[in-house]
């Protein structure tokens, strides 16, 4: 598979993302945000974490208008698979590739720790190797992960099985690190080809570093 990782000024998780997919035996290419087209053999786009444009104005608000985002939007509209991690998720929200928006964490802190997640839906490419209600231990590191969507939008998310991951403790009870509505940590679009989550599966690839639960998540994309 050819996996493309766009890099914006301020991106800082691109090498972890490359490492993670190379560990899974895939070809990965970093593409600068000024590029206007994606490589023709792109099988998956992973928008990585970081602080694109210094998080100025709002996280992801300026990256959204980078030339490469136009190509990524066209790719997604055409059914291509896109995954946004952390700042990548924020960029996909700002691009309206995913519904809702991010607010500052409820306690205003930058939260950086391992966090358990509960799988809410596995009827999609991303989490197809996981079981519903399965718990995954994945690092989070963000100040704006307080996901918000208005009531009607939230109903639609549930009706279409778009709520994929929620925050919980190691027993699986709700445990919300940022004030996110309904403890939501990750969602997908209605067509189930665009995914976004605040936690960092690419940082959970080695048990010696605390967790390798990210492997089975990212492996879902590998055909």
């Amino acid at each position: 598979m050819m996996i493309v990782v766009p890099r914006f000024p301020g991106t800082n998780c691109e090498f972890d993302t490359v490492y993670a997919f190379e560990k899974l035996g895939q070809d990965v290419r970093i593409v600068w945000h000024e590029e206007e087209i994606l490589p023709s053999n792109t099988d998956l786009v992973v928008v990585p974490g970081g602080f694109s444009y210094g998080d100025y104005l709002r996280s992801g608000a300026i990256a959204r208008f980078s030339p490469i985002m136009k190509a990524i939007k066209a790719y997604a509209d055409n059914g291509g698979y896109v995954l946004g991690i952390c700042n990548g998720f924020q960029i996909l929200l700002e691009s309206h590739l995913l519904p809702g928006a991010m607010k500052r964490n409820e306690n205003l802190h930058f939260v950086s720790k391992h966090q358990y997640l509960r799988v809410e839906n596995n009827d999609n490419r991303f989490l197809r190797n996981c079981q519903v209600k399965e718990l995954l231990n994945i690092p989070i590191a963000h100040a704006e992960g307080n996901y918000f969507i208005e009531e009607k939008g939230l109903e639609d998310l549930y009706a279409n099985g778009q709520v994929l991951l929620t925050y919980c403790d190691k027993e699986g009870n709700p445990d919300n690190p940022n004030g996110s509505i309904d403890n939501i940590a990750g969602i997908c679009n209605k067509n189930r080809n665009v995914f976004g989550l605040m936690p960092h599966p690419e940082r959970a690839m080695e048990s010696i570093l605390g967790s390798e639960d990210g492997i089975k998540m990212l492996e879902g994309f590998i055909s």
Binding site: L57, A61, F65, F148, G179
Partner: protein, 80 residues
């Protein structure tokens, strides 16, 4: 022409910063504050033929970039 844009979270969207500032004011003894909303102000200097066209243009800027209308409202004041 000068445009003053205020961007703030919509009514009904919980404002974590406003809540923290409200709490801090209470701790300092300002206990008559009922509600605090924290927003941001963006000041633009622009050339435009009329107040009307300036306002229309800034409105477009707000809709596309300056505000995220999923969670934020904005107000525009044009000063000549």
């Amino acid at each position: 022409m000068k445009a003053i844009v205020n961007v703030y979270l919509k009514e009904g969207v919980l404002d974590p910063q406003g809540k923290a500032v409200h709490h801090a004011l209470g701790a300092l003894g300002f206990d008559n504050v009922e509600n605090v909303r924290v927003g941001k102000q963006i000041i633009l200097h622009l050339e435009s033929d009329s107040v009307q066209s300036a306002r229309e243009e800034v409105e477009k800027m707000c809709e596309t970039l300056l505000a995220n209308t999923v969670i934020e409202d904005y107000s525009i004041e044009i000063v000549q």
